[in-house]
């Protein structure tokens, strides 16, 4: 046990951010693997993703515990308090992303049973890459306290929506054309929706980064050009 080793206050805060970063890395690889599994129809990888999600749940609980401990023992104020709260919130968002990746993997196991829908998986791959890029960018912003990069992610959410809407319409066409594809398409639709929600979590994290650095809450709404989602 290391509990009796007294670490400096700054070290403890740094550890919190570092643990969030490590959890972020795990989340990114989980999402990337879930996308690869659905695109390449890889059953083994999908099954692995489902199991690996547990690590994220554990990491989130761990970060939460440490944050609460730090707040209780050190009573941080101002910047330090915001850093502690931000760590907890980021961990929470990452855990949700992990769940969404796990859900994609579970649906992959069903999709594999049906015939391949090649053009659709290409669209999923493209959307996945976009969403993953946003999450990476925002985690970079978080670990380097880079406000500018966080704001860039925050203001560019409409691209993901555009991809999602396009995929939604394409799936409808498929389902109308051949009712036998409905099962696979319905699952694909959820895969796309999950990716879109991972994108939303990336936006949330961007807001948290902004809060951590400036102390401001996100007051105004982002530009939206979305006609489909409600």
């Amino acid at each position: 046990m290391n509990e009796h080793i007294v670490k400096s206050y700054e070290d403890e805060l740094n550890s919190l951010t570092a643990e969030c970063a490590r959890m972020g890395g795990l989340t990114e690889s989980l999402i990337a693997d879930s996308i690869t599994a659905v695109v390449k129809r890889n059953q083994e990888l999908a099954a692995q993703v489902v199991i690996r999600d547990e690590k994220l749940d554990e990491a989130e609980r761990d970060i939460e515990r440490k944050t609460i401990r730090l707040i209780a023992l050190r009573s941080p104020v101002a910047d330090d308090l915001r850093r502690a709260v931000a760590a907890m919130k980021v961990a929470n968002n990452l855990e949700r992303c992990g769940d969404l990746a796990k859900n994609i993997a579970k649906r992959t196991l069903v999709i594999i049973e049906t015939d391949p829908l090649t053009p659709l998986t290409r669209a999923i791959e493209r959307m996945g890459k976009l969403v993953l890029g946003r999450l990476s960018s925002v985690l970079d912003a978080y670990t380097r306290s880079d406000l500018e990069r966080a704001l860039a992610v925050w203001s560019q959410d409409d691209e993901v929506d555009e991809h999602y809407n396009a995929l939604f319409r394409e799936l409808l066409t498929y389902m109308m054309g051949d009712p036998r594809t409905i099962t696979a398409c319905a699952h694909m639709l959820f895969v796309a929706k999950n990716l879109e929600r991972i994108g939303d979590h990336a936006t949330n994290i961007a807001e948290i980064v902004r809060y951590q650095i400036t102390g401001e809450e996100a007051a105004f709404t982002r530009p939206k050009t979305d006609a489909l989602s409600v």
Partner: protein, 379 residues
């Protein structure tokens, strides 16, 4: 001397130090050479390891080297527009730092190897699939010419005409596919030349203008007052402009206008934005962004593209009307080629379009920095 040497090494290198496993605030990088700082997008030469890299496989390899004093290696891929693949090796370092162990982490770029492999597979799959249709039609007509159309001169003439068209289509496909796979191989090599974009556009417009009247389409282009220097490969710049103009002419209705505009010194967001309130999507975005861009916009008055088709535009062989739109001579590779070229040039490609209102295709190149720079490389 040694420090300068390490700093100048082309391969990214990190030296990592740590005290105990799972002591994340003690896990730091104490040296990052210029290549490493560029790859990991960090500005400092030392700091928390987790602020520079979070990939779980790399972290596991580092842990192994630091605390088990064993060599370890793993694969690592960057995210973003240009994905690069690396082989990461972690080696324990024998240093006398009290209470700390150290390790050397090297990144070896394997992007090109993997790309060659993948390009070959893609080329085979695409080529065989796309060549099948014209080939089937050719052999069908040959069979007919040998059979009951043998003594029918009118039918023979007609069939030979169709066969010629199919053979032309195959030739175009092969030409586009070869140029696409060549472009892909160079995609990660930064362009070396400096090109006057205004001049290139002028030349392409001049070469393309004779095609206009036969379709009753007007090309509108005002040459800029001064040179517009961009960092680019000349041949590929010509190809980008050519493909965009070809598309615009192809889809313009008789009596329509194709307008070409050049703007300079814009930021990347300003460059990607559309002047009108049409639905817009960016197909290639620069990453990281440069200071100023030269922006080329091509406006056409064609039928426009439905919103749901926008994200698929730069996909290979994708054609909005499906393969049925084959009355428009094209291979479905033009924009894919533009996309790959723009990606190589660290530029951008975006499309704005609305059904019934026409389309605006925008490409933007990073501008060459100083005038001296431009003169030195212009030859």
């Amino acid at each position: 001397m040694l420090a300068t040497l390490v700093e100048a090494l082309p391969d990214p290198i990190l030296v990592v130090a740590g005290a105990r496993r799972d002591d994340l605030s003690g896990l730091r990088f104490v040296l990052a050479n210029a290549a490493a700082r560029e790859l990991l997008r960090i500005t400092v030469e030392e700091g928390l390891l987790l602020s520079a890299i979070r990939d779980p496989d790399v972290l596991a390899a580092v842990d192994r080297a630091l605390f088990d004093t064993l060599d370890a290696d793993c694969a690592f891929e960057t995210t973003g527009a240009q994905t690069r693949g690396f082989r990461v090796r972690a080696r324990p370092l024998d240093v006398a730092w009290p209470g700390l162990s150290a390790a050397l982490v090297t990144f070896h770029d394997e992007t090109d190897v993997r790309r060659v492999e993948r390009t070959r597979v893609d080329f085979l799959a695409n080529a065989s699939h796309e060549l099948r249709t014209p080939l089937a039609s050719l052999s069908g007509f040959i069979e007919t010419l040998r059979g009951h159309a043998r003594d029918d001169p009118t039918a023979r003439e007609k069939f030979l005409g169709i066969m010629q068209a199919q053979a032309d289509r195959m030739a175009r496909l092969v030409a586009d596919l070869t140029s696409l796979s060549r472009i892909e191989l160079d995609e990660h090599v930064p362009p070396r030349g400096v090109v006057d974009l205004g001049l290139v556009v002028g030349e392409v417009v001049e070469a393309t203008a004779p095609l206009g009247p036969s379709r009753d389409v007007q090309l509108q282009w005002d040459a800029p007052a001064g040179p517009v220097m961009i960092r680019a490969e000349r041949d590929q710049t010509v190809q980008v402009v050519q493909n965009l103009l070809d598309n615009a002419l192809k889809y313009s209705p008789p009596g329509g206008d194709v307008r070409i505009e050049l703007a300079i010194g814009l930021s990347d967001t300003a460059a990607a934005s559309a002047p009108d309130r049409m639905p817009r999507i960016s197909l290639v975005a620069p990453d990281p962004s440069a200071e100023a861009y030269a922006v080329l916009r091509v406006f056409d008055q064609g039928p426009g593209i439905a919103r749901q088709n926008l994200p698929r535009l730069s996909e290979r062989f994708y054609r909005v009307g499906g393969q049925k739109s084959s009355d428009k001579a094209g291979t479905g590779l033009g924009l894919a080629i533009v996309k790959h070229i723009m990606n190589r040039h660290r530029g951008g490609l975006s499309v704005a379009s609305a059904e019934g209102e026409g389309s605006i295709f925008t490409v933007y190149f990073p501008m060459a920095q100083g005038p001296s720079d431009a003169v030195a490389k212009a030859s």
